[in-house]
Structure formats: structure tokens, C-alpha cells
């Protein structure tokens, strides 16, 4: 069975430095794949490349991104637009800035339903109510009429999750969706994402820097450093038996809620120096 997303040898750079150095990874249908790495590792860049929203300063220099057979990088913009929202969707990082402050929740939630799925306004609003229930938002009828600034951060993210799943896409990219939330809310939102993913069988590409998150909901994981893939495989395998020294160091540096007395060890300088040499930085 061919993977839903197949990234082959993707390289990208800014004018002054490389961002991605020949990244290859593939995600199969129904999988939850984590893209793990620290800031600047390139995980966000990969996500943006898939969605076609790379910022002006970043150029793809080599590679393909195959999605259900088509190369997203060479698709004409009109065809790409057809895919976006319907077959590929995004759960963005910052719920505060990702919702239009001047439009009601109901309008924003039903955009896709009305414009791409051809529902009438009433049908779309009914469906939106169902969606809000799915993401466990209380009093959904009132929420539909509200503006984003009237909701809490957690509620806004639930709305964005509902929006992402609304047209039942094949793939959803989650770009650090819990980073901007309170710790108390993070766990609930994560669980929600996992439940909805299981229910719809959506393929999920999960960008994160938090190994705890990876452990909770991701089936497979790809570890990135400096734009290169260091390690890749089933989450359980890698966490139990990390092959790369970097992954080991990451694990040692991550807080373990089941062993709170264990002290955190930062990634050693020498290791970083060696990694940099490895990737040729």
C-alpha cells in the first residue's frame, strides 16, 4: 500500500542558510506521525511546504512531496487550492491569531461547508452544531454567534479542530496545536485530537517539540535536527530503544511525569558539536 504522504529528498534554503537537507519520510493512511525536533530543526518548514504556504524567503531546492500520487510542489495553484481544505487541512498553532477577529465563529466554521461542500447556510450551520458537539463545546448554538475574542484559548482551539475535520480530509497537519495553550488544557485537547483522528481514520502529521505529546498520541515519529532526519520509526520502539545519540539526549532532557524526582539533563555541548559536523553545518 503506498503511503498517503511521501516526502522524498526534500531540500529547502533561505538566501543565507539551508533549512532542510534532503528530508525523506512517508506517512501511511490512518497513521499519526510525529515530526519531532527543537526550534529551527525544520519541522514547521516541512509542514508549510506540504500546505504550500512557505514564506517568501524560503525556497525549495530539490525533492518531491507526493500526496496521493500528485507532487504538491509542482501542482498548478488552482489544483492545489482544490485539495486544500477538502483533502488536506491544518490545525494551526495559535488559536488567538488564527481566527478572524471580525467574523463570527459560525461563519468561519461553515466556510468550507458552504463553499466547498455546497451546503446551504442552514444546512451548514446545523452541521457546525454537530461539529461543535463533537469537540465537546457546551452551548454550541451560542458559540456559533460569538466572536473569537469572546472564547477562551481552549475553546478557540477546539473550534479550529472542528474546522479542520469539517470536510473530512484525508490528511490533517497539526502544527504544535497545544503549544499556545495552558498546560491544564493541553491534555484535553490532545485527547480530543486523538479521539477524532481515530473516529475519522484521518492521517495525521503532528509537528511538535514535546516528546511527552509524541508518547501520548503518535504511532510513529521522525526525529529531526538541523534539517536532517536522524531517526524514524514506531514511537514505542524509538522511545524504548533510541538509536541516535541525539534522541537519547532528548529523552534524558524531557521531564517525566511518572518519575518527577528524576533530574533533567540538558543535551551535552559535545553532542551538539558532533551533530553539527554530521549534518555538515
Amino acid at each position: 500500500m503506498s503511503p498517503v504522504i511521501d516526502i522524498r529528498n526534500l531540500s529547502a534554503r533561505t538566501a543565507v542558510s539551508p533549512i532542510l537537507r534532503g528530508v525523506s519520510l512517508s506517512v501511511n493512511a490512518g497513521e499519526v506521525m510525529a515530526l519531532v525536533g527543537e526550534s529551527g530543526a525544520g519541522k514547521s518548514t516541512i509542514a508549510k511546504a506540504v500546505l504550500g504556504i512557505l514564506p517568501a524567503g524560503i525556497r525549495v531546492t530539490a525533492g518531491n512531496i507526493l500526496f496521493e500520487g500528485a507532487d504538491l510542489l509542482t501542482l498548478p495553484p488552482a489544483k492545489l487550492r482544490d485539495l486544500l481544505g477538502v483533502r488536506i487541512a491544518l490545525i494551526p498553532q495559535d488559536p488567538l491569531t488564527s481566527l478572524n477577529p471580525a467574523r463570527r465563529i459560525g461563519d468561519q466554521l461553515t466556510d468550507g461547508l458552504r463553499l466547498r461542500a455546497g451546503l446551504t447556510r442552514k444546512q451548514a450551520l446545523d452541521k457546525a452544531l454537530d461539529l461543535l458537539n463533537d469537540v465537546h463545546i457546551r452551548e454550541p448554538e451560542r458559540v456559533l454567534k460569538r466572536y473569537p475574542h469572546e472564547l477562551s484559548g481552549g475553546m478557540r482551539q477546539r473550534v479550529l479542530i472542528a474546522q479542520a475535520f469539517s470536510l473530512k480530509p484525508h490528511v490533517i497537519i497539526a502544527d504544535e496545536p497545544t503549544t499556545a495553550l495552558d498546560v491544564t488544557v493541553q491534555k484535553q485537547v490532545l485527547r480530543l485530537i486523538r479521539d477524532m483522528q481515530r473516529e475519522h481514520g484521518t492521517t495525521l502529521l503532528f509537528v511538535t517539540h514535546d516528546l511527552g505529546v509524541v508518547a501520548q498520541i503518535c504511532d510513529r515519529m521522525t526525529v529531526l535536527y538541523g534539517g536532517k532526519v536522524l531517526e524514524e520509526g514506531a514511537t514505542a520502539d524509538i522511545l524504548a530503544n533510541p538509536q541516535s545519540a541525539y534522541t537519547k539526549a532528548l529523552l534524558a532532557a524531557s521531564p517525566r511525569y511518572d518519575k518527577p524526582e528524576q533530574s533533567l539533563k540538558p543535551v551535552p555541548e559535545a553532542l551538539i558539536a558532533e551533530l553539527k559536523r554530521e549534518i555538515g553545518a
Binding site: 482544490d82 491544518l90 481566527l99 477577529p101 466556510d111
Partner: protein, 335 residues
């Protein structure tokens, strides 16, 4: 918006208006040139002149005069014009509709034209189209209504006479209207030929007034649109697969309009101020044209009445801009 803010704004506006009244009152009474001297018939006696002076209250001290006038204004009495021998309120009432229709016509054109400039320039950002529009707009920003008005008179009125350059309508047409709102009443009565004639007369002066405002809107709105287009919610809209036009108009414009509104409001008050000279150039019978004559004739009551009128218009415009800002920005509604 909470009631307290509305009330405090209204009070503030009234204080400003009071300040305006005081300033103009004092200013006008420092005018050299005796207004009475212009009114007396030859052979009038000292007693006649004194009586006339007393009639207009010009023999009292400034503060007494102000109190009297202030009291009168509160009762709706703006006095009698020295040069035109009619009630000031009546005179202004007759000429105000012409200026209002002109200003609103100009405002509409400016918003449409300026909005288009901003939207097209944003839609084609990064290309030569954007640079061309921005440069063209930059040049337009430099040209004041005075120069536009004279250029139109020259080019479109004389060299290539396409449009009338004086008056409000063809004097030979009598539309038999009850009010001075030619356009509104003309449309209501279905007299389209007349309305067309009035519009032709209004077009050049309105354009002269509109172009500077359009240039300002073009620049300010373009800047706010560019700020908005890089926001996360616009990126998400793109990822939702919405079309460029929809993103521009439905997602971005509402957010971009709000910060542009305040400056547009200020510029609109300049537009209203511009009616003074523009009406003069086009011999258009509004309150702007009237104001110049009033000053030349040292017609104190009329000058005061006109400045008061302009002041009230400015204040109303500012209040409307405030209200519009709240309406467009949901966050302010629940402050």
C-alpha cells in the same frame, strides 16, 4: 460601547464646540472695518448709526455680546445677516443642502475610488502593478483640491467643454422642488432629467474634493491591508482553500478598514473645509461660497453662524466615525 464613554465623548465634543464659538466670536470682533459703515445709507445721522449699532448689539462689551449670542443660539436664533438682511438660520438652511449633497457625493466617489486603488494594489502586490499604482497615488496625494478644481475648470470647462463649471443646475430648468435637496427630492419625484443635470454640475467640484481624499484612502487602506494579509487567519483562510478575491474582500477588508477609518474621518473633515474654496471656483451656491462673501462683507452674525455650522458638522462627522469604528470592530462592542 458603554454609555459612559458615549456621554463623555459627547460632553467633550460640546466643550470643543464652545471653544470654537468663543474663538470665532472674539476673532470676528477684532475685524477692522466697520460692518455698520457698509450698511448705512448716505446722509444718515449719528443717531441713526448709533441706533443701528445698538440694534445689532455692537455697542455692548464683548462678553455681554457673547452671552446674548450664546443665549440666542441655544434658542435656535442665529441672528440676522447684516449683508443679506435675512435671518442667518434661514440663509444657512437654504444653502446647506447644496454643500451636504456635494460633500456626500464626493465622499462616495472617494471611498469607491480609494478603496479600488488599495484593493487592486494589494491584489497585485509584489508586481509592477503595485509599484505603478503606489507611485501614481503618491503623486495624487500631493495635489490639493484647489489645483484640481482649477485644472478641471481649465481643461474640462474651457479647453474641452464637457461639463458645466458654475452653478448647481441649469437656471432654465425649473423643477419646482420644495426643499433644497435637489438630488434627494429630484429622485423621489422621479425627475431624472433634472437629477442628471444637477449631477453634471456637481461632478467637477465633487471630483476636485474627492481626489485628495481618495489618494489618502488609497494609501492608508493599502497599508492596513498589507498588515492584515500577513496575519495567521489569512494564512488559514488560504489553507481552507478560499479564493483570493474572497480572502481580500471577506476576510481582510473588514479588519483593514478599522484602523484606516480614523484617518479617513479626519481627511473627510478637510474635504468639508475644502468646499469653501472649491465652491468659490465653481460658483456653486453652498455654504462654502457663502462663507467667503460673509468674511469679505464683515457680516458678523453670518460669519458666526457659518463657523458654528461647520463646527457642528465636524463634530457630527467625528461621532459617526466613532460609531462606525465600534460597529466594524466587534472587540470594541463588549469593552
Amino acid at each position: 460601547m458603554p454609555l459612559s464613554i458615549i456621554i463623555s465623548r459627547a460632553l467633550s465634543a460640546l466643550v470643543t464646540l464652545l471653544g470654537v464659538m468663543v474663538v470665532v466670536f472674539v476673532l470676528v470682533r477684532v475685524v477692522p472695518g466697520d460692518p455698520i459703515a457698509m450698511m448705512i445709507a448716505p446722509g444718515a445721522t449719528e443717531a441713526d448709526i448709533a441706533a443701528l449699532r445698538a440694534h445689532y448689539g455692537l455697542d455692548l462689551s464683548i462678553w455681554q455680546q457673547f452671552w446674548i449670542w450664546f443665549g440666542q443660539v441655544l434658542q435656535g436664533n442665529l441672528g440676522t445677516s447684516i449683508s443679506m438682511k435675512q435671518g442667518v438660520l434661514t440663509i444657512i438652511g437654504q444653502r446647506l443642502p447644496a454643500t451636504l449633497e456635494l460633500a456626500i457625493f464626493a465622499l462616495t466617489m472617494a471611498v469607491v475610488w480609494g478603496g479600488l486603488i488599495a484593493l487592486v494594489s494589494t491584489a497585485w502586490r509584489g508586481t509592477w502593478v503595485e509599484r505603478a499604482i503606489d507611485n501614481f497615488n503618491g503623486v495624487m496625494l500631493a495635489v490639493p483640491d484647489f489645483i484640481w478644481a482649477l485644472t478641471f475648470v481649465l481643461v474640462l470647462g474651457v479647453l474641452v467643454p464637457l461639463l458645466p463649471i458654475s452653478g448647481r443646475s441649469d437656471p432654465s430648468i425649473d423643477a419646482g422642488l420644495a426643499t433644497q435637496f435637489y438630488i434627494i427630492e429630484g429622485l423621489a419625484r422621479g425627475n431624472f432629467a433634472f437629477v442628471w443635470d444637477v449631477l453634471k454640475h456637481m461632478l467637477l467640484p465633487a471630483c476636485a474634493l474627492a481626489f485628495p481624499l481618495a489618494a489618502v484612502i488609497g494609501r492608508v487602506l493599502k497599508n492596513t491591508m498589507m498588515d492584515v494579509m500577513v496575519q495567521d487567519y489569512i494564512t488559514l483562510a488560504r489553507i481552507k482553500g478560499l479564493s483570493s478575491i474572497r480572502i481580500l474582500l471577506q476576510e481582510a477588508l473588514r479588519n483593514a478598514a478599522v484602523p484606516a477609518l480614523a484617518l479617513t474621518g479626519v481627511q473627510f473633515t478637510f474635504l468639508i473645509g475644502g468646499t469653501v474654496i472649491t465652491e468659490r471656483i465653481f460658483s456653486y451656491p453652498g455654504i462654502g461660497n457663502l462663507a467667503i462673501d460673509a468674511v469679505i462683507n464683515r457680516d458678523l452674525p453670518l460669519i458666526q453662524g457659518l463657523v458654528l455650522t461647520f463646527g457642528i458638522i465636524f463634530i457630527i462627522v467625528n461621532m459617526l466615525v466613532d460609531a462606525l469604528t465600534v460597529w466594524l470592530n466587534p472587540r470594541l462592542r463588549h469593552a
